[in-house]
């Protein structure tokens, strides 16, 4: 009789332990789920904020919008897969580091492809003109002002494309993306001193090539 009571106590004790551990496990799962959801939301906001500028930066670098879209998507996927757990403040330089690596890889591949094409004496006869966005202007400018802006940007793009790679990266990350020197250095994988040098040379070069009257 006494031993039966002891067994009952033991069972009750085991049950209480099971219940407690189940409650802890549920709480942990809920917490992890909420954290993941929050991280996903933060990442969504980050991508929404950065994606359009990133696309234009990639497009200016490689002169092809479709390819630029692919590179931006690759960079987004890599950041989400591998670095989403990093502090949010580090996402911008990390994202641009990944994107710049993708752009460099693409340019290397293109160089090799072009050499092979030249070797076989094939000409790339795509015939596709560079598509100019014909969307209505959201800033309420007159068509003349729009045209002037597009021409000025086209000149700037051409001049930026003609810059050496590191100068171009420094200029676009500092000016277009608005990264500071430390962030640009992290994105480019070089020292802050190098960033300052590349940036300064880029600006001088661009001012020389575009002239005083560029607006």
């Amino acid at each position: 009789m006494g031993s039966g009571r002891t067994e009952q106590h033991r069972d009750e004790y085991r049950m209480s332990i099971c219940n407690a551990s189940f409650a802890v496990s549920c709480h942990t799962e809920k917490k992890t789920g909420a954290e993941t959801l929050q991280r996903r939301e933060s990442l969504n906001r980050f991508f929404a904020d950065v994606e359009k500028r990133a696309l234009r930066i990639a497009e200016i670098s490689i002169r092809d919008r479709d390819e630029a879209l692919d590179l931006v998507q690759d960079a987004m996927i890599k950041l989400a897969r591998n670095y989403a757990q990093r502090p949010v403040a580090e996402w911008t330089p990390l994202f641009y580091r990944i994107l710049q690596n993708r752009i460099r890889d693409w340019q290397r591949r293109e160089t090799v492809k072009n050499k092979v094409m030249t070797w076989f004496q094939r000409s790339d006869e795509d015939g596709d003109a560079d598509p100019v966005a014909a969307a209505p202007d959201t800033a309420g400018r007159t068509p003349e002002e729009q045209l002037e802006g597009q021409e000025a940007m086209a000149c700037l793009e051409q001049a930026v494309t003609a810059l050496p790679v590191r100068q171009r990266e420094a200029f676009m990350l500092r000016t277009f993306e608005g990264l500071d020197v430390a962030g640009t250095a992290a994105a480019m994988g070089c020292s802050q001193g190098s960033v300052k040098t590349h940036y300064s040379r880029a600006v001088h070069s661009l001012r020389d090539s575009l002239g005083e009257h560029w607006q």
Binding site: T36, R39, R40, L43, N44, R45, F46, F47, A48, D49, E51, K52, R53, L55, R56, R65, L69, V72, Q73, M76, I77, L79, A80, R81, A84, Q85, R86, V88, A89, E90, W91, T92, P93, R97, A133, A134, A135, D137, T138, A139, G149, Q150, A152, M153, L156, T175, F176, G178, L179, D180, A182, G183, A186, G189, S200, V203, L206, R207, W214, Q215
Partner: protein
């Protein structure tokens, strides 16, 4: 001396003004992106978000490298164990060397990046970025 300083100050102002103009033009071009491009970006973002946290285990990334290394060792053992293979094996050995070199370069590239991440974690504190990202 004073003239030189004035020139430098002017130059700094001119640089800033130029950068400001360039940024303005760039922002306009970003605003002018067409609906199809915006939609494509949105789709890309959704694809990326699905990949959130689906990082492959690190050892899986080393598996191909380990395979190539094992193949290299096996080839080396066969080569040294059988002297008659020596003459025939020259082109094969060169191929293996190329394969190993390419793979190790790829790994080194990743290692450099991981190493940068570690250094970054210790040394890089970007307070300005905290305002920028959000």
């Amino acid at each position: 001396m004073s003239e030189h300083n004035d020139e430098t100050v002017d130059d700094v102002f001119a640089e800033k003004a130029f950068a400001e103009k360039a940024r303005h033009r760039f922002d306009d071009s970003v605003q002018g992106l067409d609906a199809a491009t915006r939609s494509a970006l949105n789709q890309s973002r959704q694809v990326a978000l699905k990949e959130l946290g689906s990082r492959r285990p690190l050892r899986m990334t080393w598996l191909p490298a380990a395979g190539v290394a094992a193949a290299g060792v096996a080839a080396l053992m066969l080569w040294t164990a059988n002297p008659t293979l020596e003459q025939k094996a020259v082109p094969g050995a060169a191929d293996i060397e190329i394969l190993l070199t390419e793979d190790s370069l790829e790994m080194l590239e990743e290692l450099e990046f991981y190493s940068w991440m570690e250094l970054d974690e210790q040394a890089f504190v970007p307070p300005e970025l905290q305002n920028h990202v959000g």
